[in-house]
Symmetry: C2
Subunit: 456 residues, 2 copies
């Protein structure tokens, strides 16, 4: 696709922000998945007006447009569509916090952690914290409806979005509710999780909450994944809602410890639960959790109070993704989620898959929410191995749906799972989604060929 970008270039704040020679710009061709795209140009937008100008230019010339933040996505959502103009929003990072109203007004390029740090100066926080929160942007979080470690207690991205400003494909600027998005049709909720296919987000108003105190950190080990999983189901079924409840299987923990040496992680444990209790009733929650851990035959239970050691335990969890990436040629990372009562069945299924497959598979996740990230490690480009992986992914996603769950708890559909959306929704419902797409983007220029099964 050859596009004459001169007209766009001259209307930008800084002409240099448009890159048409893409040599050495391969970082814009992918996210954290194995997918690669071939864009026609890259715009690193300097202002909101640049975004609007770019969308209107693409509208006039029917050029696909793929918006991206930090590129930390795990479903290929921001991998450029064929011939697309890639628009990076990382420089659109204005951040205004209104501490009285507990609202933050964010450019789409604000980094999740930056928002949290700035909010903390007012005793506030923005709870959703995807594992990549030190790099990921709010725009990407909204597009993928990101979850995070604290999502069981505090909810996911959509629970915090009060209002959005966004540009539809024809360059129309929409403003959904600002203080709240409970009236009219909830268009803000429609744009959340739409992965750049309905509109380009230009501003995000999010709700902040008072910064909770730290709870107690618990490290518990088990000799079988199923025992850890049953403990999770027991805790949540009892109505206990810890601040964080992470499941880590033995192999995932070993990867993380090899990546960054950590004291106190038993490398022989088959599974670990890493938890932070609610800050409010630490003691009661700790003793309730202990009871369920013991009932399910835990090997070892440690309540960690030294702040440095607490941090190092949580780094184990946050390092898993990078650690597995470092040892594998490629990592297929799935993020199924199931109702909590089905979590033990899901974990048992993955254990069995692991036992039967010659591939290295490990798993971990925000178990309190029924989320399980399953990594299948690829050693190369052997076509036979690829076929094996595809088969395992297929089995896993269908199992999650069969257990009443979803193919993606928090990573989105993107390219990785677009052929599976038809198993999660029936044809009429998918068709209704496509009708909505056609209204917002009649020429199919906004991140085409994402989310939905490709029609032949």
């Amino acid at each position: 696709m050859i596009v004459n970008y001169r007209e766009l270039q001259k209307n930008l704040r800084a002409p240099m922000s448009l890159l048409t020679d893409l040599t050495g710009q391969e970082g814009f061709f992918h996210d954290e998945t194995i997918y690669r795209g071939t864009p026609s140009a890259v715009l690193i937008a300097e202002t909101k007006d640049d975004l609007i100008t770019a969308v209107r230019f693409c509208h006039r010339h029917k050029i696909p447009i793929t918006t991206r933040g930090a590129g930390t996505g795990l479903s290929g959502g921001c991998v450029p569509s064929e011939g697309a103009l890639v628009v990076s929003t990382v420089k659109l990072n204005s951040l205004i916090i209104d501490p009285k109203r507990k609202i933050a007004f964010c450019g789409p390029g604000v980094i999740t952690k930056t928002l949290q740090d700035e909010a903390a100066r007012y005793g506030l926080t923005y709870p959703p914290d995807p594992a990549s929160y030190e790099e990921s942007t709010l725009g990407g979080n909204v597009a993928e409806n990101a979850g995070g470690l604290r999502c069981k207690r505090f909810g996911v991205t959509k629970d915090y979005v009060l209002g959005l400003e966004a540009i539809t494909a024809d360059g129309t600027l929409l403003k959904t509710g600002l203080y709240n998005d409970n009236r009219g049709f909830l268009l803000g909720d429609l744009l959340v999780a739409s992965e750049g296919t309905l509109a380009v987000i230009t501003e995000i108003a999010v709700r902040l909450i008072p910064l909770p105190g730290r709870g107690a950190t618990l490290l518990v080990t088990f000799d079988a994944p199923e025992k850890a999983a049953q403990t999770v189901a027991d805790i949540i079924s009892e109505g206990i809602i810890p601040g964080v409840l992470e499941y880590i299987d033995g192999d995932a923990a070993a990867c993380a410890v090899a990546y960054e040496k950590t004291e106190g992680i038993d490398e022989k444990a088959a599974a670990i639960l890493l938890m932070e209790t609610s800050d409010i009733d630490k003691e009661r929650q700790t003793s309730q959790i202990r009871r369920f851990c013991e009932k399910n035959g835990c090997l070892y239970l440690q309540i960690e109070s030294d702040p440095e050691r607490v941090d190092s335990l949580w780094r184990v969890r946050r390092n898993i993704s990078n650690a597995t990436k470092a040892i594998a040629k490629a990592k297929i990372s799935e993020d199924v989620a199931v109702p909590i009562s089905q979590f033990p069945h899901l974990v048992a299924f993955v254990s069995e898959m692991n036992r039967q497959s010659p591939l290295r598979i490990n798993s971990y996740g925000h178990a309190g929410d029924g989320n399980l990230h399953v990594n299948i490690l690829s050693l190369g480009t052997d076509p036979e191995e690829t076929a094996q992986i595809d088969k395992l992914v297929d089995l896993l996603l269908k199992k999650a749906l069969q257990l009443g769950g979803t193919i993606s708890g928090e990573h989105g559909i993107g390219l990785a799972k677009r052929e599976y959306l038809k198993y999660e929704f029936d044809p009429a419902t998918l068709e209704a989604m496509c009708s909505v797409k056609s209204i917002f983007d009649p020429n199919d220029i906004l991140n085409p060929k994402k989310m939905f099964p490709v029609k032949n």
Copy 2:
């Protein structure tokens, strides 16, 4: 509008469920507002198939269709559109609770309180509890995105809807997520709050949570509404989240006490806060709340522990709506909401409006969420009085928007506020909503002339 309903009648489970002679059926012509509609027939659907049959019949013959539950709405949402077939869903009250997965599958006619009572048998609850919860239906709650007394701590209807089954105007059955609605376009969130204008809801899956314990009940009185309002802002700004935090002005309390005699309500108080602390840290919350009440110069603070007296205090709150209705010829009931830091300004504005107007005005609401219900009592059909009321409503809604709030916290837009939606959203965003409507309902048969400003 003359419609030949014979074709529909013969396809129903019970032909008698279709009423074409509407003498004595005026109960179906209105909700709890002053609005009245003129339907062409009323169907009391016996089965989900009846609903589908009715929608498809209306689609073929381009007949408007207005769905209704218990008719307890406060914005005219279910008042029949001109010539509409009214479809009552009250008999579609199948209710299946899966306690392990903590999901309830409800017909649209399930009464909110019935769901709560049934869930309680498993130690679970469904938190949204509009004041009319003993009569209102889940279908109506979803259509209006109802809130309730517990919404600050637990959230509103949309926060509990996991999945919906619904029929679009052409008779297509949609099923949005069931276990969760976080993937694909969030069509479920789009149907919530759409007031019967996008689809007819046939089944609702809601998330249940473990039944919380009861907190401590606090009754606090003040000699000025502004002091009570400032106390609310102080409590919430501090990050304290009580189970319930209701504001009741002196006149609203007096109405309720006159309606049902209640001990212990000081009839001279200018404002009352009625609160229930969180169950988890009762003592700490109670002392924190007490500190803010005293700081703002409360007259009287009582911690009530006798269960019977606790119930009687909460009945005061629940009786306000019926009590004011009983003394006025008509009651104009607004439900603005503002960010919590602006709540004292809103209350001051209403106090001033009250002082300057010859009309009787009282106010109360889920103050913890910034909601304020404002009743303007009408004594008759004097056109001058109506004009006065319209002017007050106009001033109030615009004030709420100016304070960064919304024209409707929880009652919906319906007929009552449709001309005001254009102040809450800009023309392009309203137009996008109308485009969505045109996709779901191209012939404009689903509850026409609701929600959106009427085009001339």
